[in-house]
Amino acid sequence: MRIELFYAPGCQKCADARDGLRAAAQEVIPGVIWRELNALDKLDYAIKLGVTTLPTLAIDREVAFSSLPTPRQLREALKRRLTKAV
């Protein structure tokens, strides 16, 4: 599974939240791919995925959260996906 956090350059709340979110993701899926993408550098990719607000969190190339989730919300979303995949 791949998680991508799209952020605007200089987003302080993204910087503050990312460690907690990454830890939450690793807790549910050890070895999960975690990428942090500056939307300005990855504009075409952000458009392709349908990102319209920043920050946005995409799971497996699908917009999952159009604002920063809490670590708990992310854990629950990942668990739901894992259950679906089984």
């Binding site: 605007a8 350059p9 200089g10 987003c11 939307a39 300005l40 504009l43 952000a46 458009i47 349908g50 990102v51 319209t52 607000t53 920043l54």
Partner: protein, 141 residues
């Protein structure tokens, strides 16, 4: 020297009604009112009106413009904050362009399907397709 609404509207190339609308939307406000109750504006209102017009042309809604103007007046905000708003707007515009391209492609398909010019309206594949699409929408509600 303050400007009347007609004068400043003329300088900014908008109508007086537009300025009253901007006022209702809390985008601008007259600096004062004359003894007769007429709105009076300072020169900086001209800059503000031009800013609003330009932002509208870039696709910003009046609500977003209000937020941009608030940022402009916020001493603790910086260019980075405005850039984030602009970046989000670009992403939204690109999403719209993408959706419109899909619509355009669908229309091309319909246009190609309708090859017979003199077919009766009841057999028009374009109308039939639009009606079908409408029916699907209604069902999904």
């Amino acid at each position: 020297m303050p400007f009347t609404i007609g004068k400043i509207a003329n300088l900014a190339q908008v109508s007086a009604d537009t300025l009253r609308y901007y006022e209702r939307e809390r985008l601008i406000a007259p600096a004062a009112k004359s003894a007769g109750g007429y709105r009076l504006y300072e020169r900086d209102a001209l800059r503000r009106i031009r800013f609003i017009k330009q932002a509208q042309q870039c696709g910003f809604t009046l609500t977003e413009i209000r937020a941009l103007l608030a940022l402009r007046g916020n001493n603790s905000a910086c260019c980075r904050d405005v850039r984030r708003v602009a970046l989000e707007k670009k992403l939204q515009l690109e999403a719209k362009v993408k959706a419109m391209r899909v619509m355009s492609k669908a229309l091309s398909h319909l246009i190609n399907e309708c090859s017979a010019d003199n077919r009766p309206l009841d057999d028009c594949p374009i109308l039939a397709s639009l009606e079908r699409a409408n029916g699907v929408k209604r069902k999904s509600r």
